[in-house]
Amino acid sequence: MAGLLAGTAMGYVLQRGQLCFHAMFADAWHRRFLLFRGWALAVVLGAVGLAVVFATPLGQSLNTGLPFRPVANVVGGLLIGWGMAIAQICVSGLLYKFGAGMAGAVVGILGWIGGEIAVRQVRLPGPTVLPGGDDGTIPGLLGLPRLLVAVLVAAIVAGALWRWRGPAAAQSGATRDGAVLETGQSDGRVGNGTGRRWASLWARCWWSGGCWPQSVGWTSGPAP
């Protein structure tokens, strides 16, 4: 029930924010940073939130960091990037857009399940440079408290975003009527009425689209 609740909240905010990692990276390559800015702010706010969660008794049983395996991380990351570019969607996008009526997403979901099953026995060679847990994180590497590093990173990123601010629409490629068509964050199917108003609101409040998924993220717990 907890998983269903977390997933429903995540799917809801992802669909409302039209947050898709493929669109974020693709836009960034075209020097459009609307989604990127929202994601960056979401990540640093999430880092502070997670640091607080980890300090509570509830956080003691949670994963606090992933091992750093350079070969696997680089190869896996590149495969995910190529997969996103070919499918023109990310995994979370496949799921929430399937719920929003994109019937063809089921083909991508089947491919995704097949890919995971196909390589489940694969173990790439290469060292584990950093172990999991706190030692695999930047605070662990620096030997500093997680909350302190999270707050510092949040302050630096927030400051950079503040200096980098400007008309969100100019950086997003949003059209005059508010339907974000060129960023790739939406395929133009934003609907009428309320849906269009959401798209317009997203263009103005770039920070909200990333922050809501992140708030759901750390409410749900960290992930490998």
């Binding site: 995540m10 896996g76 590149l78 799921l95 991508g108 605070p139 490998p224």
Partner: protein
Amino acid sequence: MLAAVGGVDFGPSTVGAGAGAVAGDPNWWLIAFLLGIVGGGGIAARSSAAFELRGETRVRYLRLLVGGFLLGAGGWIAGGCNLGHGLSGMAQLNVSSIVVVICMALGVGHARAMTRPVSRTRTSAG
């Protein structure tokens, strides 16, 4: 927090659902989470009049299948997907997640550069 309530040590991620089920050790929290994303997307789309049942072109189906396969394989190898590394892992300040996210971005840029002529003909993109 909801993961802890559910008795598992992690939350938002897509990695492990398929492999766990095949291995006879399904992660029910994760499966429920993924089904919830579908349901949540549906609720959000219906409540904003954005729900539209639609199909794709043949080329798009092929791209979804091939791209989906790479997403699954890459997520397993990298130890996390775009949600796991890109949202939760980055918020954990993991060194591995930073590397994976950079490689994701490079992969998207490289593949888009290689497939640019095909991309211009796309009809529906995520």
